[in-house]
Amino acid sequence: MSDAAVITDIPLVRTFPVRPFRHTGAVLLVGPLVLFMVVFYALPVLAMLARSVTEPSLSLANFTRLAHDSVFLHVFGTTLRTAVAVTVGTLLLGYPVALAMSRMRPNAAKLVLVIVLLPFWTSILVRSYAWMVLLGRHGLINEALLAAGVLDTPLRLLNTPIAVHVAMIHIMLPYMILPLSSVLRQIDAALPRAAASLGATQWGVFRQVVLPLSMPGVVAGTLLVFVLSLGFYITPALVGGPRDLMLSQLIAQQVDLLNWSYAACLSATLLAATLLLLALCQMVPGVRGAFRLGVR
């Protein structure tokens, strides 16, 4: 009840400095979530990360070992390669869709948005199994190609890097399209017109006006997809091959083996790689301003 009292008191104490009360109110509003996050998220994560430098003894030995660990290096390489491929793939497929949406009438754009978001309402697990059905040795694609006489023997699609890339691009597309379309929609419609009236061809308008003004969306979408891809688990586990292990799978494996310090060490590395990437992006000229531009 004390929270309510403080809040309803505000108009009555208007003659007194209001700020401290507002402050208290804000703390009370945000407090429960902060407490929850500290207890159930921040502390466990820190405790887990601490294990990477405290077990078996207090040292950085785990990390130095990691640098020469061929399994880790292979997995880390696969993870980076997959994340890059998925990011490039979603950007190339998502940008045209976002651009088309920005040029549609509002109702048509809404419909496309729903279609884009539709996969969001299905669990990733279900979508990944769906890809298994499609890509399997006796899956839809192989059966269709065999029936059409295009193939004599079924292609090996499932449990390959290709399968991982295709399935992950499918799952990540909304994360790319949403920020892109929101930024593209904000571009003043008079700007492409102005560019055309000044003599720019359609391609010129896109390259010189629309594309540069959409960079905040490109950066946001790229970061989002890349960071999410780095830590992706379910899809690679289901449709990937045994030799295309991703970092999160390796971590899960180590946890299963109760190899806590190694798992913690891998997690710390993944976290560090992600943070490093975000920091690098902040340093690219224009990106920081680009984020601000996106907010207007």
């Binding site: 003043d188 008079a190 700007l191 017109r193 102005a194 560019a195 055309a196 009236s197 000044l198 003599g199 720019a200 061809t201 010129g204 010189q208 006006v209 540069p212 003004l213 531009l293």
Partner: protein
Amino acid sequence: MDGTQAALPSAAQLPGRGAKISLVDLEKRFEGVGAVRGISLEIGSGEFLTLLGPSGSGKTTTLMMIAGFETPTDGDIAIDGHSVIGLPPHKRNIGMVFQNYALFPHLTVAENIGFPLKQRGVDRATRTRMVADSLAMVRLPGYEARYPRQLSGGQQQRVALARAIVFQPRLLLMDEPLGALDKQLRESLQLEMRRLHADLGITFVYVTHDQEEALTMSDRIAVVNEGRIAQLGRPEELYDRPSSRFVASFIGESNFLSGVVRGMEEGLVVADCSGTTVHALAAEPLLIGTEVTLTTRPERMRFADTAFPLTGRQNRVRATVTEAMFAGERCRYLLRGEDGAAIVLKEPSGAGTRRRAVGEATEIAWSVADTVVV
């Protein structure tokens, strides 16, 4: 002009610096609804023509069709004798200034103004020089390195203007370019646009809903209403001889008196307005018994007993003052005629004029030459 002329051939080859434009029975329907319903208009080389009308009248749609952003449903647009229907906007070589400036926010002032030159393959050195020249022309020298967001609204509009003229188009289209600016700035930019028009000698087509702006700036005004031209003429013609009630009330303020034609006399219409005889100019003879509306401007009316008498033939009606307002340079009176009609009268303020009191019975007079049948 060294290499520049080669890149911009159209300006050199044709007579006159401004384009001639013909709109022929131009129509535009959006999903069956007519936005422009048959506009025909000849715009002379170097003319400053304003399309004036209320919002939704079709003036902007007409401009957009000239620019190439809208395709006419019917009719033709010819620039310098060649139809431009089917020519995409970027090939029309028309300068355009938009209402909200439409400056590219990610480019500097110099890059914005250099944009049309870059599209035309003008080399960097020439570009720099031409950008500086056009910035000087709009009185913003030295602003090359700024970004649009670092400029005030008036400065942004000057940059937009510089960008629209730097490639020496023969035609400049402007869509309510001063709409977003405050009154004082608008007035100073109006003067600058007139000056720029005189300096450049190119054709200006200007869209506005602001009648004062149209009257101040234009060589000719086309009053657009409901997709058609209601009247076309010089500002004085439109103001002094409106051809319809719409034009009379849209441009400036007007008084309307309804009457019945009693006859014609020396080319003037003699009408009976609730018992008072009023003479008026008419474009054509009218039949006796025709019901007419006569119009005259509030500032052309006088109190009959004023110290500044009118010359020539006059109309006189009796009226009672119902409201008196002081508005600085003039006094604005609201009067009621004997038939109950509301009449507005504007009198210049000064020591020589007597302020009228509300309720005062008086007689007002105005020149027959300032009375028009609409």
